[in-house]
Symmetry: C2
Subunit: 266 residues, 2 copies
């Protein structure tokens, strides 16, 4: 039951028709008996600045979850960048402070780490191979380095992008050995696909699955299909697998806390 | 169940904590199985222009209901003013067109007329006494004249304001005899309080109740208390009475239609 006293949250993106965020958080609000609601807002990139300027003026607006293609642009438009949001230059959550300032942070990578841990896979001290140096790869690299991974190997089709990300991550976390390399995941404890390859049935593999060792955990960020061709191939080689949906599961509590949602731990 | 495809509506005002609009419309959406939601947005007058500029950019924003103190200011900021909104210079609904334009109209007075009719009181051809020439009085005057009232008598503490409203209403509806006058409701078929007098228990009467004839219908715009001191006094004189809540009941369908809400008649 939404009353006139409700706190309003949003998820912004273009498109937003596919997002499951309203269902996830409204179910939490309803279960907790909280007078709050999260609504989808279709925000074209071209008018993002006007939208944020309007939203920040709303006295009962709590903040928003941010999805593609707005994660980078929102980082440039918020007033304060925190944590991984500042490191990655992208945010997936904006909190509205009572004075109207927007504070941004990025929880995609932390959600991935939380998902790993929830399934008994501690990344601390591990060697991790990441395919992809785009938005997801960047988020994962900073979060895994921050979680104490011993080494990160970043593979990207455009090698320069992997090299530049490797430098930024190593500069932020000097204790983590970070390098750009080719598509061979051999010698790693965890190999994760952070590219879009696997969304379509005829996509090529995101890395050389034939080089996966049976002891390596094969992980995904892709949520649909639940088990990608890469995960199927890894399982066939005897690897344990970790689905993309665990990244989202691990993230809901982090977002609720950051956005100061009712019922979230302070 | 709000999905990523939901159409989002709002009620804007300051304060909004007291409004019942979200309950009324969300119950309608739920009953009809529509993927739509109406949320309260606390919009300070000082930042209204920024809020509207942000809202108009949202691809899935359907529009909003407008409450105090934003009805006049919203009329100045919308792109198109229709019907009674244009006549009264105030709006209580803004529809967002697919191209982002905001179209405003005012349904307070039409809601009052619809409420009268729903209770068997046809204003066409009647002589109506209105106490109050503020926002509510203005809305009622234009709507009653538009509904074919034969004559309107407008009483206001500041007589000039009643005179100016009377001139505007007569100019728009020359067939209706409109005049400003004192607090005597004698000789009218309907006498309606459109002032705030009656909200507080020790308020003076909005007009001379002692001059009410038993054949006159005594009507209110005040919703709380449900039966004001004026209505009690009118009933004691043998008048039929008509509560303020009927204005809202009569208005929901009009707003749903104007805002092109799912389930509303086209």
């Amino acid at each position: 039951m939404i009353t006139g006293r409700a706190t309003v949250y949003a998820i912004i993106g273009d498109p937003v028709a596919h997002v499951r965020t309203p269902m996830v958080f409204n179910a939490r609000f309803e279960a907790g008996g909280h007078d709050a609601v999260l609504v989808p807002l279709l925000v074209p990139l071209a008018t993002l600045a006007r939208t944020l300027d309007g939203l920040r003026t709303l006295g009962n607006f709590g903040g928003c979850v941010v999805t593609a293609p707005l994660k980078g642009p929102c980082a440039s438009l918020c007033d304060v960048l925190e944590g991984n949001g500042r490191l990655a230059g992208a945010v997936n959550a904006l909190r509205r402070e009572p004075d109207g300032r927007l504070v941004g942070d990025l929880f995609d990578g932390l959600g991935f780490v939380a998902g790993l841990r929830a399934h008994g896979h501690e990344p601390h001290g591990r060697r991790v191979f990441i395919a992809g140096a785009g938005g997801a790869g960047t988020a994962l690299a900073f979060a895994l380095a921050g979680a104490g991974a011993a080494a990160l190997t970043i593979h990207n089709r455009t090698a320069d992008k992997a090299g530049s990300l490797a430098e930024r991550v190593h500069a932020a976390f000097p204790a983590c050995e970070v390098r750009a390399a080719g598509p061979d995941p051999g010698g790693h404890d965890i190999a994760v696909n952070a590219t879009a390859l696997g969304l379509q049935p005829d996509d090529p593999m995101p890395f050389d699955v034939a080089s996966l060792e049976p002891a390596t955990l094969a992980a995904e960020v892709i949520m649909k299909p639940e088990t990608t061709a890469m995960l199927h191939a890894a399982a066939a080689r005897g690897c344990r697998i970790h689905q993309g949906r665990h990244m989202l599961d691990g993230q809901a509590a982090l977002l609720a806390g950051f956005l100061a949602m009712p019922g979230a731990p302070a």
